[in-house]
């Protein structure tokens, strides 16, 4: 199909979508309406379960089963990327070389690495209390580790990143979410039911299973993301294809 024909087809389709979407928007409840029946019920349910962060309560208590699916998607992506980005038969493994880093960059990243790690752990641990949670904190933790790559080079990153351990931790965290759900099935009668004591409102142990599920997701996201990025970085830094290593003069 020519570029022009494709564009004409798109514009026709876009006009139809725009017309239907605008008509649908006109029938939505008005913007900034004070009336949110589901939101109010979610807030009431979260306060009843003594979880201060209602978004976490929705994710790890009311919709905990959905979050299991969400977490499985993430786990599946790590598996998929591992499969897609493995070393092909005609590729060689190249030892990463030391790179020069500006001293200011090195200082900045070295200072920020422990701070970012602490922020990540805080965000995961306080997921049921303050804004944040397992998904967000996990991403911060994975980012923190990659500051080693910014501060030094790929070899420094490899030292702070035991991939085998992280792979196993990723799988264990993914599995323990289901195990917490099974605990609900055994003691309470429903899968992923909140069975632990609810604790005092606005303390780190409040919310029953919410902080536990939150922590498993935090570990899974952090480990999964580091493994995922490791495969991408391997492609860029370590692997050389048959046409590439003639150019660089390796071997």
């Amino acid at each position: 199909m020519s570029t022009r024909a494709r564009l004409v087809m798109f514009l026709l389709a876009a006009a139809v979508v725009a017309a239907f979407f605008s008509a649908a928007c006109a029938h939505l409840p008005p913007f900034a309406t004070p009336d949110h029946p589901y939101g109010e019920r979610a807030v009431a349910a979260a306060l009843e379960r003594r979880t201060a962060n209602v978004v976490s309560a929705v994710n790890f208590d009311i919709r905990a089963f959905d979050t299991l699916g969400e977490e499985s998607i993430l786990f599946g992506t790590v598996l998929g990327a591992t499969l897609l980005l493995r070393r092909a038969r005609d590729e060689r493994h190249r030892r990463p070389v030391a790179e020069r880093v500006m001293p200011t960059t090195r200082l900045f990243a070295t200072l920020l690495l422990p701070v970012t790690l602490a922020v990540g752990v805080y965000t995961v641990a306080h997921g049921q209390l303050s804004p944040g949670g397992g998904f967000q904190g996990g991403v911060v933790l994975a980012t923190a580790l990659h500051l080693a790559y910014v501060a030094a080079d790929y070899r420094a990153l490899q030292k702070v990143r035991p991939l085998v351990v992280l792979d196993v931790a990723d799988s264990l965290a993914a599995a323990s979410y289901t195990l917490v759900g099974l605990a609900g099935l055994i003691t309470g009668g429903a899968f992923l039911q909140n069975v632990l004591p609810l604790g005092t409102f606005n303390t780190i142990t409040s919310g029953g299973t919410v902080p536990v599920l939150n922590a498993t997701v935090g570990v899974e996201v952090a480990c999964g993301l580091i493994c995922l990025l490791a495969h991408f970085l391997d492609q860029a830094v370590e692997f050389t294809g048959p046409d590439q290593y003639e150019k660089t003069g390796d071997r």
């Binding site: 928007c25 303050s130 495969h231």
Partner: protein
């Protein structure tokens, strides 16, 4: 404001789809897909907004004193972000493989099948 906020989400979606249709580079196309997905965040957050409301977090807020925005759509937006990130990661991995085997990232020059 009225319905303009919702319509903005549709505009972002159509702009991203235009980029996707006319793209000559798969990395650019994946970027367009990410923009298309962010239109859903815009729609979700617009649906959940309440005038004068704050975040649905009661760590330093006495329940009942202030209205809060809808936490259900915020949780949905979070799910959306996670799914979007995973889709982007897998598509980028596929693009790397494609570049290795066919030495191109232009979708229009991918014509024949190759084992």
């Amino acid at each position: 404001m009225g319905t303009w906020v919702f319509l903005a989400a549709g505009w972002v979606l159509l702009t991203a789809l235009f980029g996707l249709v006319t793209s000559r580079n798969l990395i650019h196309a994946i970027g367009c897909l990410t923009v298309a997905q962010s239109s859903t965040y815009l729609l979700l957050l617009a649906v959940g907004y309440r005038r004068g409301a704050t975040a649905p977090v009661y760590s330093d807020l006495t329940p009942g004193t202030r209205p809060v925005v809808d936490p259900v759509v915020q949780a949905l937006a979070l799910t959306d972000v996670v799914v979007g990130a995973t889709v982007t990661a897998l598509l980028l991995a596929l693009t790397i493989q494609l570049h290795k085997r066919h030495h191109t990232v232009d979708p229009q020059s991918l014509t024949g099948l190759k084992g």
